[in-house]
Amino acid sequence: GCSPASDSGESADATDTAVEVAGVAITVDNAARAALPQKYSDAGSVKVATDVPYAPFEMFESEGSDVITGVDYDLGQAIGAKLGIDFDFEQQKFDGIIPALQAGKVQVAISAMTSSVDRMDVLTFVDYSASGTGILVEKGNPAGIETYLDLCGQKLAVQSGASQIDLVAVWQDECSSAGKGAIALSEYPKDSDAQLAITSGKVIASVLTKPSAGFVAKTANDGNTFEVIDDPAAPTGYDSTLNGIGVLNADAALADAIQLALQSLMDDGTYMTILEAYGVEGIAIEAATINAAKS
Amino acid sequence: MTKLMVEAVDVHKRFGSLEVLKGINLTVEQGQVACLLGPSGSGKSTFLRCINHLEKIEAGTIRVAGDTVGYAERGGRLHELRETEVAAQRRRVGMVFQRFNLFPHMTALENVAEAPVQVLGRSKSDTRRRALELLDEVGLSNKADVYPSALSGGQQQRVAIARALAMEPELMLFDEPTSALDPELVGEVLDVMRRLAESGMTMIVVTHEIGFAREVGDVAVFMDDGVIVETGDPQEVLVDPSEERTQSFLSKVL
């Protein structure tokens, strides 16, 4: 359960009240608040864009409702509480997130975005978690996949534009040097389409971030359709990358404030509490950084 | 009684490089019936269309009931009229086409009632009553609710006449009103036109019905190749024409 910061009010001073997220009462961190640009503390809120649903990072509380929940949402609320302002989440389809930032309709994007050097042309990222790639297969693992090298010579699905595409390219090389067949990779616009490809027998597995894979396996058809391969060699998934909270490069000062707030949440343990509430401790990182991704 | 209804002075009209009217001069007094004759392509239809400003003339002047067609004289100069002003001028002139051009999506009654309601803003019920009277006058009171596609050619042409009359025009133009009709049906249309002429309507009629022209016409005009070759009393022009071209044409038509 979580209750959003509901009564921080318009006044910038009314920040003493604690906000409860994931059962933890959070109060304002003065250092972080001091770093917050004047216009945001004056406004008392920022708007946050998120592309729902992408479980378990963001999803609707129940189907058909428009109450958002998830790891990202809770972290956002907690950061807001540290800064003494509201983080108002708005549902925004992916194609509109950047335009919405550029149009000034929202100021922050928290949408399980993978931080990358490419994307830093557009956004500044406050890194808040890391997740690697998991392999989703049909329940019972009929093809007997144990590690990614077992995918050589098989048909594999991926969401188009996902970072997993580059990873699979690396695997291809390993397959050929190991003398195995190549991976036949098909791209689909959404993860859900890739999963449909598994059930219709077009592919034997799909690759996606491991937290999502776990969530799909757990929830789809009450856990009876899919399972995730657990490779002991890579418990958080292959090729972990950082996830970031994005703001426009022109708004870097806001990123600094968010970084301080997040670090404060890490320091006082709230961060881990929130991750644990969704069973994704595996994605935790040591310290809040800005644009730490190297590729 | 000698009010001039139509005055055409040195009217010229060309389509691209083809000069179709080469200086037409004609006057028609109020109440007169002028019959236009001439071979195909001589410019009869074009001249009629110029009177109604469906074609714009290049030189000369046409006046209908004293007003210059398509222009307003203000401060000694001619000013082109805008579309709506031209439309207002056209209200005083009724036109009947060779191919009828009834509105196919309206019944006979609606065809007749359309313009008075839409253009003159008459009330629907009044117009309806008047339209029924007009249909009765052309002998079609029983066809009021029939669509044009279900009418014979002669019936369609009579509806077209009623439609033009519904606007209470001061001048009626007829462009070969009977030439697309079966010979049997010609009579009924000519009858309507004859009665109209007797009621004092000013009319310009392009026709090849020599009998009608001689009987009803006050003046016969023979055109050829864009000019008026001969004008005069129909009894003279059509019985004993002075011009050779008129003679040869009449010998073919009769």
Partner: protein, 316 residues
């Protein structure tokens, strides 16, 4: 050559008693179309077994279809879809008529402006148009009334504030549809006989009246079927507005299946509703086609040569 005088049917017998004492009708073996029926049976069998096989397929999951068919998220999505479609089509058709008339105008300014309009709005992706209107602040940060090319401003406003998302969605869909509709209307207007316009003019009708009362009603016959296409396309295009907020039928269901992975059953729910809407739409379309088909085309429909009957019988 002489005339062969046949025994002439006595008028009385043939005429007066017509319909009573019918002569022997033509007794002929009617033309059979074995191939046609064979094909029909094959098609029917194939379709049935395909449908059966589909219906029995566990992936279809009928209970889920039933559960979502009248779920609140479906119904509210349906309402949005309907509202957006109706509003966008009203804007599109009325604007499309104006644009079509401008394109056919003798005035070069109007012609160029409308030509450019159609070019741009048909030629660019709807998604971009939606993003443009939805996030216009990203393109034009503020609207200024001032002297162009100088920095003098009398009044200015931030664009993000003045266009709310729903207005933006309607603007985008409506303007886009205008461009498409204008081409259809243009084809319709061009199909009407010129004599009709002349007749209306000679009755003193203004160009506007002529268009509204005489030309457009006759153009409708040609306009209605492709506009039916447009409405159905629009029904589905509304799904794109989800990028700037607004939750139509398809995006609601897509959001649901992104969460529960019941893709096929939920798409079937969408299909069922679209089919219902399309069928409902058929009623006004057929009414319009009948209404505006009236009085046109040959009343004469031959009995032979089936192409002869390539048009519906007129009801006079």
């Amino acid at each position: 050559m002489t005339a062969t005088q046949q025994p002439v049917a006595t008028p009385s017998a043939g005429t007066r008693l017509a319909g009573r004492s019918r002569p022997a009708p033509v007794q002929a073996v009617p033309l059979r179309h074995p191939g046609r029926w064979f094909a029909a049976i094959i098609v029917a069998l194939f379709t049935t077994s395909l449908l059966l096989s589909i219906a029995q397929n566990p992936n279809l999951d009928w209970p889920t279809v039933g559960e979502y068919l009248f779920a609140p998220l479906t119904l509210s999505g349906l309402a949005t879809t309907l509202y957006l479609t109706v509003a966008a089509m009203v804007i599109g058709l009325s604007g499309g008529i104006v644009v079509a008339v401008m394109r056919l105008s003798p005035n070069p300014v109007l012609r160029v402006v409308s030509g450019l309009f159609v070019w741009v709005f048909r030629g660019t992706p709807v998604l971009l148009q939606l993003i443009f209107w939805g996030f216009i602040g990203a393109f034009v940060p503020k609207l200024v009334i001032g002297i162009p090319f100088t920095s003098i401003e009398f009044w200015s406003v931030s664009t993000s504030d003045i266009i709310p998302a729903t207005v933006a969605a309607l603007l985008a869909l409506g303007l886009n549809e205008m461009a498409y509709a204008s081409e259809i209307v243009r084809a319709g207007i061009q199909s009407v006989d010129l004599g009709q316009t002349e007749a209306a003019h000679s009755l003193g009708m203004s160009p506007g009246k002529t268009l509204r009362r005489i030309v457009l009603p006759q153009a409708m016959r040609v306009i209605v079927p492709p506009m039916g296409n447009e409405v159905i396309t629009m029904l589905k295009t509304t799904a794109l507005v989800s990028v700037i907020a607004g939750h139509d039928l398809m995006s609601n269901l897509q959001a649901a299946y992104a969460q529960n992975y019941k893709i096929i059953p939920l798409l079937v729910v969408a299909a069922i509703w679209y089919l219902v809407l399309t069928s409902v739409l058929n009623v006004p379309q057929m009414w319009l086609e009948r209404r505006y088909g009236r009085g046109v085309a040959g009343a004469r429909v031959g009995a032979v040569g089936w192409l002869l009957r390539l048009r519906k019988k007129e009801s006079q």
